[in-house]
């Protein structure tokens, strides 16, 4: 029997090619993701382990109050040095430290300033590589290589840092240091200085970590116990090996996050590949019905027919999986580029690691998916009666009424359940739970849509195709008829496109809405051109902007409006919250919240609360709310609710009047200053004026709203590109599916095509017929998929961002492009089958039975 299988495969290599490619692509994506995960992990491991290279014992500072890391003292360092068996011990200190760019503005990463690290200590245990030397004298410093290359600083240049008090200090660079891709400092500037100078600049006195080297012959764990004994409880003591493992685990969790997200896309590709495989076997076995029947006539048992079919699938699965693993290595490579480019993932470069895990997984998945997909067709093949060998050609399959009813009922159940779950989800108040529930409902409903596909695909095809056919004439009419003749086959073929295109459509609605909503938040409410904010040192501390800045700015004719805003932590009815206030000269004019209920006007005893945030969602106009800042508490009445957002302040729960804020928090500097350029002032001259005034304020970031908007655009587009790229593999597999179905159909319709040619269809018309058929499948798949995306995209947007009044955007241009692309790609997929069909000689095709 095996010989029959092999002979069959040899004879039909070409027919199996598209299936093989589907397996290769599907497995390739998954294996590639796994290989990528291993490689990223190895890369992270290398760079993270560097943080503890040559360290025998590491002492970490105890966790301090309020989640802030505590610090180790000089006394503790001395105590460690006194432990017998310690060859050397160094303290590592670090603190936020603002570095200025050549133009004198602070270099920030998500509003945060960079860090300063201590560079003294045993060169062997340094967490960085150095090109040059460590600072030896006052006035010398080192800088991380990434910042140096971005800002074009070189050894010998002078750099300026700003201490916490706002004073500038100049240093000469004597070396460049490289931390690899340690996530600790990723994206930040790192200035290296001797510990004592660093402490003066940052005001941080103490060490994050003490690294210890052991004397010869002293074991790590024994030494660690002794160090722990010397320090008492509090500081956490680890052996060097333990520390390196912990760091590596941290690395792994970073890499795993990426990998699991990617695996989701891999799974989608596999599902699509499974559809293609299923379809291939279903069609092939239908075509081979005489062959199978003949085998049964000659004495093959049902089991033998079944086994032979599965063996065939297994062989294809194995070969495809092997190819997929090779392809996966390329995918892993591409993923690095894609993620680093599109989302600045900062993945460390590392030689691709191909472990046994991904290889075995790839083989298993390829084999499994192929065999499972072939199961149903194989079972169907066993039902072939020996008599079928003697029957005249079967015509286009007509499905029994009973089976159609079963299908309709199953589809209705799935769609009904999916809709019910979706409705429940849409009614949920918790956005996270609502989103997950809606997605779950969507998956169920989509399943129903797929199950029902054979029932409606004919009608949809006719609806799309008949107008085309009316315009294009007979060959197009034949194409429409052909696309409709085998609804199951067409449904399976288009289902693959529905999945891929549907998800891309969903993503484009989500991201488009996200972009529009964010833009609206950014610029819609407040017509300002610039938002200045103090740089952040860490999660808790942010530099303030002296009130003098806003005053100086108001004096400039380039600006027509300047608003000051203060922000502070508070408690609203005992719950943690952020309150803010806008200076009276701008509130109500430049800055006017768009109230959902009540009024934005603030009196002495009133407050406007956020209509979006959880803390304040339950409050209504007229309610009383107690506001506590430090020791002071006031009871205020809610005057209005509004989605509160001020550029530069991330989340505001309540807005009080400027005076009320001063009463509560005391007089203070501004958190943000907003400025609107005067009419007829060019962007360049307002920017110049701003920078002139800002020169005296180095701890302040200048953001132009236009830049923020275009940054946002770039980011969203990059994300959209990323998703489209990841889902693109599923679409690609779907296209191979179309090519596959068509070429199998071409084989099946050899005689029909020849007849058509004989009675007057030209070669070009025959090609056209197939192209139109593919085009129809492409358009129908894309349209149904997009329809689904259009229903669920907005639902998810509303569930996720309902609180902030999201703007649902349907990117029609994108979607139209998607349909056109699907149609064009489908037609392209039909080129080869069409050419083959047209090339066939009429006489030979007629004779071929």
């Amino acid at each position: 029997m095996l010989r029959t299988v092999l002979a069959g495969l040899r004879a039909h290599t070409r027919r199996m090619m598209a299936t093989l490619i589907a397996v290769v692509l599907g497995v390739g994506f998954v294996a590639g993701t796994l290989i990528f995960g291993d490689t990223a992990r190895a890369g992270f491991y290398d760079t993270f382990a560097r943080l503890a290279q040559n360290v025998d014992v590491a002492v970490l500072a105890p966790t301090g109050s309020g989640g802030q890391p505590g610090l180790l003292t000089d006394a503790q360092l001395a105590a460690v040095r006194a432990v017998p068996g310690v060859a050397g011990a160094d303290g590592r200190s670090s603190g936020p430290l603002a570095l200025l760019d050549p133009a004198g503005r602070p270099i920030t990463n998500f509003s945060r300033v960079g860090v300063g690290v201590s560079t003294d200590g045993d060169p062997r245990t340094r967490p960085f590589d150095i090109d040059g030397r460590v600072p030896a004298q006052p006035g010398e410093a080192v800088l991380d290589t990434d910042t140096a290359s971005h800002q074009r600083y070189r050894t010998g240049d002078t750099v300026v840092v700003v201490d916490a008090a706002g004073a500038r200090h100049s240093y000469t660079l004597v070396g460049l240091i490289d931390f690899g891709v340690s996530m600790t400092y990723s994206g930040s500037t790192v200035v290296g200085l001797p510990a004592t100078q660093l402490a003066t600049l940052t005001g941080v006195h103490g060490y994050d970590e003490i690294t210890v080297t052991a004397a010869d012959g002293v074991a790590q764990d024994a030494l660690a116990r002794q160090v722990q004994a010397a320090l008492g409880s509090g500081p956490r003591v680890y052996t060097g090996d333990q520390r390196r493992t912990d760091l590596a685990d941290e690395a792994t969790s970073v890499a795993t996050e990426f990998t699991s997200a990617l695996l989701l896309f891999g799974a989608i590709s596999l599902v699509v590949a499974a559809f293609v495989i299923y379809n291939t076997f279903a069609i092939l076995l239908a075509q081979r019905i005489r062959e199978t029947a003949l085998l049964r006539c000659l004495g093959a048992t049902r089991r033998q027919v079944f086994t032979a079919t599965l063996a065939e699938a297994a062989l294809i699965g194995t070969v495809g999986a092997a190819g997929g693993i090779l392809f996966g290595i390329g995918v892993a490579h591409a993923l690095f580029g894609l993620l680093n480019d599109a989302v600045h993932a900062n993945l460390p470069a590392h030689a691709v690691v191909v472990g046994t895990g991904p290889v075995l997984a790839g083989l298993g998945i390829g084999l499994g998916v192929t065999v499972v997909a072939a199961l149903l067709p194989a079972l169907r093949a066993t039902r072939t009666s020996p008599l079928a060998a003697l029957r005249v050609l079967p015509n286009a399959g007509v499905t029994g009424r009973g089976r159609r009813i079963v299908r309709a009922v199953a589809a209705l159940l799935a769609v009904g359940a999916g809709t019910a779950v979706t409705v429940v989800g849409a009614g949920m108040s918790d956005s996270q739970a609502a989103t997950f529930t809606i997605v779950g409902g969507g998956v169920l409903a989509f399943l129903g849509v797929l199950i029902a596909a054979p029932l409606y695909i004919g009608a949809v095809t006719a609806a799309v195709g008949l107008p085309v056919a009316a315009a294009l004439g007979t060959p197009a009419k034949v194409a429409v008829a052909n696309a409709r003749r085998n609804p199951g086959r067409t449904a399976t073929t288009t289902a693959t496109l529905m999945i891929g295109i549907g998800l891309i459509a969903l993503c484009s609605v989500l991201l488009g809405s996200l972009k529009a909503t964010a833009e609206d938040q950014l610029v819609g409410h407040y017509p300002v051109d610039y938002a200045m904010a103090g740089v952040r040192y860490d999660n808790a501390r942010q530099a303030a902007i002296p009130a003098g800045f806003a005053q100086q700015l108001r004096a400039r004719p380039e600006f027509s409006g300047v608003a000051q805003a203060r922000e502070g932590k508070a408690q609203l009815d005992g719950a943690r919250a952020v309150i803010a206030a806008v200076d009276p000269s701008a509130y109500g004019t430049l800055i006017t919240p768009a109230t959902a209920t009540g009024t934005h006007t603030l009196a002495a005893g009133t407050v406007v609360v956020s209509s979006a945030n959880r803390v304040t969602q339950h409050l209504r106009v007229g309610d009383s709310v107690t506001v506590t800042v430090g020791p002071r508490t006031q009871t205020l009445t809610v005057a209005g609710t509004a989605p509160l957002s001020i550029p530069g302040i991330e989340q505001i729960d309540a807005l009080v009047s400027w005076d009320r804020f001063t009463d509560l928090a005391g007089p203070g500097d501004d958190t943000v200053v907003l400025a609107k350029a005067a009419p007829q002032v060019s962007a360049a001259s307002s920017r110049d004026a701003l920078e002139q005034v800002a020169t005296a304020y180095p701890l302040m970031e200048i953001n132009s709203i236009a830049d923020l908007t275009s940054d946002l655009n770039t980011q969203i587009n990059a994300l959209l590109g990323l998703f489209a790229g990841l889902l693109g593999i599923a679409v690609l597999i779907a296209l191979f599916g179309i090519a596959n179905t068509l070429s199998l159909s071409v084989v099946e319709r050899t005689r029909e095509s020849a007849t058509m040619r004989a009675i007057g269809l030209t070669r070009a018309q025959l090609r056209g017929t197939l192209l139109i058929e593919a085009l129809l499948m492409g358009v129908v798949g894309a349209v149904i998929g997009i329809g689904f995306g259009l229903i669920y995209g907005p639902l998810i947007v509303v569930a996720q961002f309902g609180a902030i009044g999201p703007i649902v955007v349907v990117p029609w241009d994108w979607l139209a492009g998607l349909v056109a692309l699907a149609a064009a790609a489908a037609a392209a997929a039909a080129v080869l089958p069409a050419r083959r069909a047209a090339k066939a000689s009429i006489v030979a095709a007629m004779a071929d039975l």
Partner: protein, 252 residues
């Protein structure tokens, strides 16, 4: 309506040679065959398997290329078109309206109804059927109550009658029938042959039929015999017996 008055050729094949393959594997299917099929006549081509009768039909119908020789198709006015000089597209266009086909396997398109199948060549040519002529054909073939059915809902005989209608509707210069009764029981076969003869005698069609069945050939006005790729005989007003005799002589 008798064909004896004026004979005018419908298809004239001259010096037709067809060689398949090349070199050592070359097989000569037709060797310098010249024959003329008269308009308004029912001609049968006969011969043993491998005699080249199907190849002759395929070449004469412009379905296959020729190695040497000419195939001329004449229209009602007597103007000749040399099929061997036409490219594929021109040949295809010509087949739509000037040549009709009836195949052994019926070869209807399963996705189209009987009527759509009948009209397909005219549709392809972008022409409408003459309603009177369509009514005549449908009536003669007894298809009036079957027009909306798909081929899978029709018996073999009905399918072949639809195929005949498809061949006739454009009023082609010639209809080629390739073993039209090969897949039919004898009664349905008789019906189809009777109709082909009727279409020649009463409706003025020209039919050339390839068959290996002497009973079928007996419906024709003339039998052309082929053996080993050459003409081997020509019978006028054949009967089953005379055809059988002629075939026996070929074997001898």
């Amino acid at each position: 309506m008798t064909s004896a008055t004026i004979t005018r050729p419908a298809v004239a094949v001259t010096g037709l040679t067809k060689v398949y393959g090349s070199g050592d594997t070359a097989v000569t299917a037709l060797d310098d065959v010249s024959v003329t099929f008269d308009a308004g006549r029912f001609t049968a081509i006969m011969g043993p398997s491998g005699s080249g009768k199907s190849t002759l039909m395929h070449c004469a119908a412009g379905l296959d290329t020729v190695t040497a020789g000419t195939v001329r198709l004449f229209d009602a006015a007597g103007a000749a078109t040399d099929l061997t000089g036409l490219d594929d597209t021109s040949l295809t266009r010509l087949r739509r309206t000037r040549i009709g086909f009836v195949f052994q396997q019926f070869n209807l398109l399963p996705t189209l109804t009987a009527r759509q199948n009948m009209l397909l060549p005219l549709d392809l040519a972008g022409r409408r059927a003459d309603p009177a002529w369509e009514a005549t054909v449908v009536e003669v073939l007894g298809l009036a109550d079957r027009l909306g059915h798909t081929p899978s809902q029709l018996s073999g005989g009905q399918q072949q009658r639809v195929a005949c209608a498809r061949a006739m509707l454009p009023r082609p210069d010639v209809i080629f029938a390739d073993e039209p009764t090969g897949n039919l029981d004898s009664r349905a076969g008789q019906q189809v042959l009777g109709f082909l003869r009727h279409s020649v005698r009463e409706l003025g069609q020209t039919v050339v039929m390839v068959t290996h069945d002497p009973n079928a050939a007996a419906f024709a006005d003339r039998v052309v015999l082929l053996a080993d790729g050459r003409l081997a005989g020509d019978l006028a007003d054949p009967t089953a017996d005379s055809v059988l005799d002629a075939l026996k002589n070929l074997g001898a």
